[in-house]
């Protein structure tokens, strides 16, 4: 577990900012984090954030295919669990790094560098 590495929260927008089943790239300029972050709205409506680069090769997970609470990489179709970043199938073998998202009132807050906690 990473601790104490997190950056201050970034207000990304309202909870209506993404349609369920879509994603958005949050560039480093927005987050202050050293890597691009993918923001995902699962088909369930919940928001999640992962490092945008696939742990397998060079692909952007925010360009992937969301199904339920999973994201499928657009390149070689490894699937990752959005809530905890767990890799669900090959060819990737490493989990994706999560970032905490908090929905406060109708705002989506991203905590870059702070791991998500499963609730």
């Amino acid at each position: 577990m990473r601790e104490g590495t997190g950056l201050p929260a970034v207000d990304l927008g309202t909870t209506e900012m993404l349609e369920p089943g879509t994603a958005l790239l949050i560039p480093t300029e927005t987050s202050g984090y050293q890597e691009d972050i993918g923001l995902f709205r699962a088909e369930t409506g919940s928001y999640y954030a992962l490092d945008d680069e696939c742990p397998h090769e060079v692909a952007s997970l925010s360009e992937g295919w969301i199904e339920g609470e999973e994201i499928e990489c657009p390149l070689h179709s490894s699937r990752f669990c959005l809530p905890d970043g767990r890799v669900l199938c090959l060819p990737a073998v490493r989990d994706a790094r999560t970032h905490r998202i908090e929905v406060r009132e109708d705002r989506v807050l991203l905590y870059p560098g702070t791991a998500a906690t499963r609730t």
Partner: protein, 403 residues
């Protein structure tokens, strides 16, 4: 009778997947994988990132070394030389014997040798294993002249990687353009042209002879042309590794015959991956699937079948290929009776969809198509009918049509 031990012969993707799925499905008995290579690794990077030196041995492992201990999967380093169907088990090349309640054959394929004089020279290269990739990498130095026979998936990928490494590459194929069965005519032509743009010499022809010269090799083509080079790599497909099974009297026919459970003609022996070939209940034979996902799917099916659990459902077959900085994907069948609809970006075809007469999608292929093929998979698997005009319109994301 409960199953207490399972032995997987071959630790490629298919064999590894069997073991992984057996554990995920709750099998707690003894479980071993026999392979001369030791820790199972992934093959697609051998012609791409591994050949280019962007991934190392650890980077292509299918699971980290600890995984095997954590999941009590024993890795037996060795080569099986004989199957014992009476007292179920195997004999290794070093004489060791291992027995189990179930056997899974996952021996993959071997590069098909070029059936011409000199095609069997020891110095003629092929690419199937990590060792092959190491040899190829060592020989592929800037300026070296590499001739690749066969411009299919592996030939094309090696051509791209070797070019990146600075080699002078000549790609020979008797068919122009190659890969039409996989991606259709239009995309095949565009893909083939990319080799020219990368500075690769394309030769349309058939080699009839390979010989060694003082410095390298010389090829003679059927029209009398001769080509001198340093190294020759042959990539014309594989032959399934069924010798063990055949010697043991199991039914094979250009592949280890299996039913929908991946079970062979011996009910205690299963077969998966590149070496397996499905025989339908009516006796007809499917083509062998020689792609990555097929190896994973058949491994998952075998694990479920061995444990007598419900079989997983798999969709239309899918493959990818990465070369010249582009990503190619195909799903389903591009060859059945029907018509092909193209999607263009400017002049370039970026996707092809193959439709049956009743409008159902049979297959699709794309070049850098993003989620196009993912969406096409869903359209095919769910039998969604999409108007051809929408398929042809690059302004409409296929994902929208698949929901």
């Amino acid at each position: 009778m409960s199953i207490e031990s399972i032995l997987v012969i071959g630790g490629g993707l298919a064999g590894f997947t069997v073991a992984q799925n057996l554990r995920a499905r709750g099998y707690a008995g003894a479980l071993s994988i026999i392979d001369p290579a030791g820790i199972p690794y992934d093959r697609p990077p051998l012609s791409k990132a591994y050949l280019l030196g962007q991934k190392d041995t650890a980077g292509i492992a299918l699971a980290p070394a600890e995984w095997y201990a954590e999941h009590r999967v024993e890795l037996i380093r060795g080569t099986v030389r004989k199957l014992d169907t009476e007292y179920l088990g195997v004999e290794l090349a070093d004489g060791r014997r291992v027995h189990a309640d179930r056997l899974v054959l996952a021996t993959g394929g071997s590069p098909r040798p070029l059936p011409i004089p000199g095609g069997d020279l020891e110095t003629v290269l092929a690419l199937r294993n990590k060792e092959d990739a190491d040899v190829l990498r060592e020989k592929t130095t800037p300026g070296m002249r590499l001739v690749i026979v066969g411009a299919g998936l592996i030939g094309a990928e090696v051509a791209s990687s070797a070019r990146t490494l600075g080699a002078e590459v000549t790609l020979i194929d008797p068919v122009d353009p190659p890969l039409v069965p996989a991606v259709g005519q239009a995309l095949a032509r565009r893909l083939h042209a990319m080799h020219l743009d990368a500075g690769i010499t394309l030769v349309h022809g058939t080699p009839v002879d390979i010989s060694k010269t003082t410095h390298g090799h010389s090829l003679i083509l059927d029209d009398g042309r001769s080509i001198d080079c340093d190294e020759v790599l042959v990539g014309i497909g594989i032959v399934p590794n069924t010798a063990l099974a055949q010697a043991a009297g199991l039914e094979t026919e250009n592949g280890m015959l299996v039913d929908e459970n991946q079970r062979t003609s011996n009910p205690l022996i299963y077969a998966v991956g590149d070496m397996a070939r499905t025989r339908n209940p009516d006796g007809s034979l499917e083509r062998r699937g020689e792609h990555w996902e097929y190896a994973m799917n058949t491994g998952a099916t075998a694990a479920a079948a061995i444990l007598e659990q419900e079989l997983p459902v798999h969709g239309a077959s899918w493959f990818w290929s990465d070369r010249h900085g582009t990503h190619v994907e195909g799903v389903g069948d591009m060859n059945g009776v029907g018509a092909t609809v193209l999607r263009l970006a400017g002049e370039d075809p970026i996707a092809a969809f193959h439709l049956a007469e009743d409008g159902r999608m049979l297959g699709a292929a794309s070049i850098d198509g993003g989620l196009t093929i993912r969406a096409a998979r869903r359209i095919i698997d769910r039998g969604i009918i999409v108007p051809p005009e929408s398929l042809a319109d690059p302004g409409i994301a296929l994902k929208k049509l698949a929901r």
